[in-house]
Subunit: 366 residues, 4 copies
């Protein structure tokens, strides 16, 4: 089913942007796992809008209510369901969109697929808001992964072509990963704009602000690393780690590209440049480089798992755009109403981590 993911655990996401609630069901989690709800809420807040100049001014509490699968704060082995009520919706903002699809959004494809009875308000089931339930699931299993010594850390690698500096793996291993589970960059700002280079981060913020002022939006790239992956996780062919991560990451709206290790760059190299030679370190097999991103034949090799996801710019912009009125079948101009992020990338960072956490936990078959 389209809104479900996973083989060993299964995540099902439900809800529309303006339905009474959105939520998720997570099946296959063993009994007896403790959930730190405060830590989960902190994780959810990294995704929440309204915190700063470069995200939408909408305020959403977005704290989940658990309906089943936990007793107190301990899992009981049966499906975990949590919901978030939709309270701050302004559906009237969307009336114009009933007949005039927004360029870059799923409005037109939604009407072709679902017909006139689709829920177009707020983007319906296609809304970026549906990443909140993904973050509930990911925030939970991320805690379980940390108990196994597996940490997920990510950064904004670039925005609008402005690139961060430094190496995520090196930086994270030196400065970020701690036993306290504080595993995101820029802790002072609660990881809200995680770059290694604060200077480059400021340039990116300035660029977002500039484009916002022009009524425009910008895209970017998020890099994510999974540390502590044991070797031997994943399966050959269609359930390799790349396939598994791809299936969930492309479920995050606006992702249009995905690469592992040095990815597209590998296509320019020779085998002698790209192969990662083996060596021994304290009796353990390691590779001198990590061009493969920790995955060979779909299976982890014990090195950090690395991937990058490309996000297109937010399609909702203030500028007037060309569209078509599907009712009258006439060309028309559209100015998209509502409040929107000029750049989705900062808020997408925890979503990428959540997706990685769910994919990794599923592959681990714990």
């Amino acid at each position: 089913m389209s809104s479900s993911y996973g083989n060993n655990i299964r995540l099902t996401i439900f809800g529309q942007s303006h339905s009474p609630a959105i939520g998720m069901t997570l099946e296959g989690i063993p009994a007896g796992k403790r959930i730190d709800f405060e830590k989960l809420n902190d994780f959810m807040k990294r995704r929440a809008p309204g915190n700063n100049a470069y995200s939408t001014p909408r305020k959403e509490a977005d704290l989940p209510e658990f309906l089943s699968g936990v007793v107190g704060n301990v899992t009981c082995g049966t499906p975990i369901t949590a919901i978030i009520r939709n309270t701050n919706t302004r559906s009237q903002d969307y009336n114009i969109l009933k007949d005039v699809p927004r360029p870059g959004h799923a409005d037109y494809t939604g009407v072709v697929k679902y017909g006139p009875d689709r829920d177009y308000t707020g983007g319906g089931h296609f809304s970026g808001r549906l990443t909140a339930p993904l973050c509930i699931a990911g925030g939970i299993v991320k805690q379980f992964l940390e108990e196994e010594g597996i940490y997920i850390c990510s950064r904004i690698a670039s925005i609008g072509g402005i690139e961060d500096e430094g190496d995520l793996v090196d930086y994270a291993q030196k400065y970020v990963l701690t036993s306290s589970g504080q595993n995101y960059l820029n802790p002072g700002a609660e990881g809200e704009f995680p770059t290694i280079s604060a200077e480059q981060g400021e340039k990116m913020k300035a660029f977002i602000a500039e484009k916002k002022a022009e009524g425009d939006s910008v895209g970017g790239i998020i890099e994510c690393a999974v540390f502590g992956m044991p070797a031997g996780v994943g399966d050959p062919m269609f359930d390799g780690m790349e396939n598994r991560i791809a299936q969930i990451v492309f479920g995050i709206p606006a992702v249009k590209g995905l690469e592992f290790g040095n990815g597209f760059e590998a296509a320019r190299l020779t085998g002698s440049q790209n192969n990662d030679p083996f060596y021994l370190e304290n009796g353990q097999v390691r590779t001198k480089s990590n061009n493969c991103g920790g995955i060979l034949g779909g299976i982890t090799n014990g090195m950090p798992l690395i991937f990058r996801a490309a996000f297109k710019p937010t399609p909702s912009i203030a500028k007037e755009q060309d569209s078509v009125n599907l009712k009258t079948m006439e060309e028309t101009k559209l100015v998209v109403p509502g409040r929107h992020d000029p750049c989705i990338v900062p808020r997408a960072v925890p979503c990428i981590e959540a997706a990685a956490a769910v994919a990794v936990y599923d592959a681990l078959k714990i």
Copy 2:
């Protein structure tokens, strides 16, 4: 299961490089579909090795024997199984590899996952040879798609950084797609090195030959376009067209990156640059650009579906490499034996088309 793909049809691939046979089972194909076996064999030959200077000199007939699911050349509605016998195997080439994993291959991850009883000969189930059953399945459903007016066409977009010229969509629509189903570039050479620019193709071939002479290998990028896609195909969230294509394309060995439409380039753009404005053409909704690659919200919009896959260079190179003897746990040098492609990209073109065909046919829910 790891070696199965699909929701509405299901493709299962079995076999190891040196087992008695490799093959595939394809479930869910309706009864009464005619298979043109000659055309299927022509498609298989595009993947077959040994045809030219830039691929392995191994000769493999690779023509499938059908065991079930067809009566004469017509499907009967129940599972279709076809096999290819493995005849030209030289397992002794691989004895050294039992204990010394090849850099860039799945040898080490295989032994961690499956232990000493894995089939290491010829790469086992991880071998690129397992793309032959994928091409059987893809070659079949590609024929069925063509009956629906859906054509898949691809090109080598770059090799070792040398880029093809021209636009695949424009070129294919003008010169390639015909009602005869001849839908690959460079028909004179049976699509064996499909570039738009013959000149750039020659440069790529020269580069491959140069690196081969050095005992090295090269990577590249394949671009694929699906023409005639109806709008409304695919599903939101985890079964979007991107997710579906990703799950199968990352199953092709050596793929490390995947992007749709303008992909990673979109991350550098603004919304006003990247959004595809709608307009009307003969009463049909179209977009002026196709930066989204024909997919919005996981669902096709009726424009050509476009993606690019990045292949790393063949890990098997003649140069000496650093590795580890897993039995003695000592560092060692390795020269990979056997005959290998200096560049897998030309033979991977039909594999990419096969993968796209299976993913699209599955999503169509015919």
Copy 3:
């Protein structure tokens, strides 16, 4: 996943007897389907407890709240989630059961599977209460089936060995099935004790009351017929109609047997007695008898689909029983606390219909 069912639609059930809520998610329902909520609530009431002498005096409103997937009363094509709050729980009734498993219940197997952190209160996820979400899903798709001319009708075939009289198919076709969708027996009592013979029904009720007075409980058999099934529905082998119905019906607590057509009786017959001869009726292929229950080779033949499910007696009885204290590992006596149905069969009738409706709708691949 254990708590999910279906291939073309997917039903996921979540919740424990005493968690904040129970509920269900139904994926794969097309957009534009109208749900009659009043009719759905009437259907739910047939399962609700507390209506009469032979069911538990617990009062449960059990009316679902829809969180997603419907706009107004029309489906929008994305996952439908509905929940029922658990309000009338008396968890303290179950304290004694933490260590002493009730014979015939899943208490012991639950603790072996899930360990000390299982939710034992009220039976947890094993509770018969979890059939309420099944009835939400079944009540919805039953409406959609009726639009296709497919009606599901069932009766109590026997209780404690007392058998109903008459033939369900004949009776239903003559007296019950109407275009108004009123498709259960004994309409005066809202189908609460559906037998064909009111006299036999009274005997069953008296027997239940008698056993209740003794602190005991009774089992029974429910017969279910699906009318209007088109021929050609279902699949060979593991997705036949029998397999599909079995997979969902055995998910209803207390079902221990299932048979199709004349079922176990067929094992006593000869081929010439049991085969259903074909004939023509108004140009349509029919069978003179329906010993196969409308299914041949897993696929419907256009005759009514018939099955019977055997329910064991409610394991919760007032009589003292032998058990074991799992904490002290000593044998002990147990008197089960709480309020329970002396016979689950009458309330299970809509559950069987719901299960049949979900299985049939899924198989129809609408």
Copy 4:
């Protein structure tokens, strides 16, 4: 998919009665498992026809050829595929059946589902011959189960109403189960007609012979017990042991009923009669009776798992029957050609054991 079964392992069965081959793919078996091929062939022979008066005189070698997944006789962790060539086919026997469906067979439902291009020869994919691949898979995992101390043993419980005597569990535990893995009744006859009472067995054989002489056929019931099941196997709701076994057992042609423990008999009992009281035996929790068949809430309780499957009489009989010519749409008489078992039950015994073995192994999640 219809011809696939399993969550943790996956069995896919392909082939038609008269296609070049039939076979199976088994995914998810770990590497390093040794298969005793001689023992597997002995198991296959129990299903093979032509051994005696009460089965079809067709001779089928039915010994599988392994194409992948094993190296020597050891699994290598990737999909195991084995095939059986179809050599002794007499398709011309079936020409008359192209237009005239046999009562009790899937001929009519097959043509409705698949249309004129179905493979009607020999029953196609619906043929009982497709239980041979099931026995390959079951015969393999049965060996693996025996390594875990889990033995499967079954008997013919009745044929044509003639019932065996004795209790399968008691008898098997005393006389049959041995460490040598010889775990079927009547070892002298290689388990070919497994009853506890030889006298009752002779009566059954005589009855089969009598009905065969009349050109008729008979049905029967097989009882199966799984010994050594650990407690805690199976899942609640739709993946309970009953559901799992039902999904595979109803895939065996001619099965029309299935019950666990005392099954339909439980519907006649009271709770105090049917509940299985707990007690301690050598510090282990046991139940005094086993009316639940070793399953509570879908999960094993450590007692033997017991089920019974009802088989209808073979639909192919020599007597003239009423049918319809689907081409001319006229009623007609039919005498079924070909060679058939007058009673399928003896040959179905290993099929039931194979189905149980696959279901149990899948549920164990080894």
